[in-house]
């Protein structure tokens, strides 16, 4: 599915860009799951990271669905926050970093691949 996120070469002004759409919905879904679990974790006295990151992912997904370039900034904040948090939690223990960094970084790559499409496509506010 990642190849579908590549920006199409033809004019796409008002059509649906499926790669961005799918990525948007996937982020909404993941964000919702992580947010709900994160709130549960906060209620249990655990880390606030998941609640916040889930929210950030949710926002990213919504912005992507509206073709808003702000999605990029939203996710960059999530990712940088994740990086800082992950380092604070376990530092250079790379096995411990796998669940913390690998998936969020893959999402980062996919989100960044949306930039050309978002630039060309008018946002739906």
């Amino acid at each position: 599915m990642s190849d579908t996120t590549a920006p199409p070469n033809h004019a796409t002004t008002h059509s649906t860009i499926w790669g961005v759409k799918i990525l948007g919905w996937v982020n909404v879904l993941l964000g919702a799951v992580i947010f709900i679990g994160g709130v549960w974790l906060i209620a249990l006295g655990g880390s606030w990271y998941y609640g916040l990151a889930g929210l950030g992912l949710l926002v990213t997904g919504i912005l992507l669905n509206r073709y808003m370039i702000e999605a990029i900034w939203a996710y960059l904040i999530v990712w940088l926050g994740t990086l800082a948090w992950a380092w604070w939690e376990v530092g250079a223990d790379w096995w411990a970093q796998v669940p913390r960094l690998v998936a969020p970084t893959l999402i980062l790559v996919l989100v960044l691949l949306c930039i050309p499409a978002l630039r060309r496509h008018p946002s739906k506010i």
Binding site: T5, G46, S47, V90, W95, P99, V102, A103, L106
Partner: protein, 698 residues
């Protein structure tokens, strides 16, 4: 993308999920060492170098064999150090090792034995022969240089006798000091079987020793009570001290309070007659067997692992397990509380207790002592070194049981709500050395992705956890860390007495447990199962009834995510460490086990990184400066530099290497050997091979 990412992450992580291994109380033993001086010189030639060591008493004097060209005891030498003076294979040439032969025992699981094999066998090497047992107790003699079979003897153990796993960790050998060479059974091979027999055969021919018991067999069910196959089984080689064969048995855990006794018995090595019984709850009354019509005290702590023989003092050291019902203790007797999870020294000639040293007070965690203790000289005092599942390593005075290294005490431990009057709020710990890591925190939770890591964090906070020795609970699960796999389990540790280095491999995994209220318990104890019903081979305690206690027990061994099967805690799950014997300080410590066999959804990742897997089985150390060990779930057999911890050589085994290796010499050529037979609980492939490696003959 999202599906991609977890998957990719998973690939990267390669996780490791194998887990745990061990069993609690059930199996394991080893054998006897007597004390023997170790010498660098290879003992004489073939036959066996036997040195007389302080002959104990008259004609029961027992030969103490030396390790070197031979590997005469399960623990290597009589002291169970697992140290060999051989030095042909060195750090410089170990990379040139090549396989010399592989021997197939032919014993593979059939029918109801499928999924229950965990042979764990370590051969002995005496003279020109390798002596071993297969998973189902077939005794086999093999030429140590060629791998050709000399003879075999099959005692015909039925599948129904398999307790938790089909295991025979090894055999022991006894030479009749009165016999002339060539007499039948002058030297005999003795094993305990899964169907609870002692079997003695002639080392030369494999023929049963007719003077031993009934045609070479002694029935250990005698005076134990109702015969329920699989409930009472021997998996460890016996210890032989001053002509007395000492054995305990594995009593399958968690079935019922009214379980077979944990009695430990001594038998005359020549006649098989009962010399004494040590019933910890009635030691005087039952010393020569229970009165007519009675049985040994039911449900008492048992010894499933290998005892250590001390020919010089005439003692035998028993690493005791816990009572039959592991996770609930209010119904236990004072005697059980006194001896459970203790190292007990008995006078091997009389069966009388000399001393005991308890490692857990009021054990409700299944922290059986699983490791064979090692005899050594500690700063001038004859000592015994004892590793525990909690990772603590104690060194005691062999004569008195007094600690020679500092023992601290934890206090104000939580007592829980289940049985606060029973649970102890203090526990001993070794201040000399422990393999145990710090308590878990939420940050230690793991997974392939943020989502499963999040789920494990939620589980972490939903459980009761107050650190080490959190008592059992039923309203919520509780986290037990370290889990019952250790720390150190039946493979025990190896001691390089020349360099003064202790090598310990260990597990680093928690269990996620819950006491199950009686009305929710669905499993039946083993004696109430129908004839056709499987007695089960699931992980120890996975769902045990604990009949007689108000609760059954549910154990998630290794605490794996119930959806993905991925461990909830971060790697490493197992390590190996070198400890300075003089100071107790760590010289090096590293994960053991690569991620090659593990990955998401059970797909091997082939990643060569040392993630640190659960491991089961010990190591061998050599004068050549090498540590040989398999044990991990990556199916590798490896040689590690004892000075640095670096892996210098490794080879892929055809099945799991959950067994202790050995090294020996024939005609001036040094061999290293390990069995590759797999382990159901460790989730490694099953096989039937014993494999030898040596340097190429130039």
């Amino acid at each position: 993308m999202t599906r991609i990412s977890p998957f990719a992450a998973a690939l990267l992580m390669a996780g490791t999920f194998p887990l745990h291994a061990q069993q609690t109380g059930t199996d394991t033993p080893q054998n006897p060492p007597a004390e023997a001086p170790q010498s660098d010189a290879v003992s004489e030639s073939a036959a066996q170098a036997e040195t007389d060591s302080a002959p104990p008493s008259e004609d029961v004097a027992q030969i103490v064999r030396e390790v070197g060209s031979d590997w005469p005891y399960w623990g290597g030498d009589a002291d169970a150090t697992r140290y060999s003076p051989l030095d042909q294979i060195t750090r410089d040439n170990v990379a040139r090792l090549e396989q010399v032969f592989t021997f197939h025992t032919g014993d593979l699981p059939e029918g109801t034995a499928e999924g229950k094999y965990s042979p764990e066998v370590t051969p002995l090497k005496i003279g020109d022969d390798l002596l071993m047992c297969s998973a189902m107790n077939i005794l086999i003699s093999v030429d140590a240089a060629t791998g050709e079979e000399n003879w075999r003897f099959n005692p015909g153990v039925p599948n129904e006798a398999i307790p938790y796993g089909a295991t025979c960790r090894g055999v022991s050998v006894y030479t009749n000091p009165q016999a002339a060479e060539g007499d039948a059974c002058a030297t005999r091979v003795i094993q305990g079987t899964l169907d609870a027999k002692l079997v003695a055969v002639d080392l030369e021919t494999g023929a049963p020793c007719e003077d031993f018991g009934e045609n070479g067999t002694v029935d250990l069910w005698q005076d134990v009570g109702e015969r329920v196959p699989g409930w009472y089984a021997v998996t460890a080689p016996p210890a032989i001290v001053r002509g007395i064969v000492v054995t305990g048995a594995q009593v399958k855990d968690g079935q019922a309070e009214d379980a077979p006794s944990g009695v430990v018995r001594g038998y005359d090595a020549l006649t098989g007659e009962l010399a004494w019984a040590w019933d910890l709850a009635a030691p005087e009354q039952n010393r020569n067997g229970p009165p007519e019509g009675e049985v040994y005290t039911r449900g008492t702590p048992n010894m499933w692992t290998t005892a250590t023989a001390d020919e010089e003092l005439g003692y035998v050291y028993l690493p005791m397990g816990n009572s039959s019902v592991d996770y609930y203790g209010s119904n236990r007797s004072e005697a059980e509380n006194e001896y459970a999870t203790s190292l007990v020294a008995l006078d091997a000639t009389t069966g009388e207790e000399v001393w005991h040293f308890q490692t857990v007070r009021r054990d409700v965690w299944d922290y059986d002592l699983g490791s064979q203790a090692t005899l050594l000289d500690y700063q001038g005092t004859p000592a015994i070194l004892l590793p525990s599942k909690q990772g603590d390593i104690y060194i005691l005075d062999r004569a008195t049981g007094e600690p020679l290294t500092p023992v601290g005490e934890l206090s104000d431990l939580p007592k829980g709500e289940i049985e606060p009057d029973f649970v102890s709020d203090t526990q001993p710990v070794s201040e000399w050395h422990t393999l145990r890591k710090d308590d878990l925190t939420e940050k230690d939770m793991w997974g392939f992705t943020p989502i499963d890591q999040l789920w494990c964090r939620i589980q972490f906070h939903r459980a009761n956890y107050d650190g080490f020795y959190t008592p059992p609970s039923s309203d919520k699960p509780w986290i037990q860390y370290p889990g019952y796999n250790g720390g150190s389990d039946w493979g025990s540790v190896a001691v390089d007495t020349e360099r003064g280095i202790l090598i310990a491999n260990y597990n680093d995994v928690p269990n996620y447990n819950r006491l199950v209220p009686r009305d929710e318990v669905t499993s039946q104890p083993i004696h109430k199962k129908g004839a056709g019903e499987d007695s089960g081979s699931n992980a120890e305690g996975a769902a045990d009834p604990q009949e007689g206690a108000p609760y059954g027990i549910s154990v998630n061994a290794g605490w794996r995510n119930d959806v993905t099967g991925v461990p909830c805690t971060r790697p490493p799950y197992g390590g190996i460490r070198a400890i300075d014997l003089a100071t107790g300080e760590t010289l090096w410590d590293r994960p053991i086990g690569t991620a090659r066999r593990n990955g998401p959804f059970g797909i091997p990742s082939f990643l060569p990184f040392d993630i640190g897997t659960p491991n089961n089985g010990g190591s061998v150390v050599t004068a050549g400066g090498l540590v040989f060990i398999a044990a991990a779930t990556d199916n590798l057999f490896r040689a590690i530099d004892i000075e640095t911890g670096e892996t210098l050589w490794s080879t892929v085994l055809p099945a799991g290497g959950q067994a202790n290796p050995i090294t020996y010499e024939v005609d001036g050529r040094q061999y290293v050997m390990v069995s590759a037979m797999g382990h159901h609980f460790m989730e490694t492939p099953v096989g039937d091979e014993v494999i030898a490696w040596a340097l190429p003959e130039d």
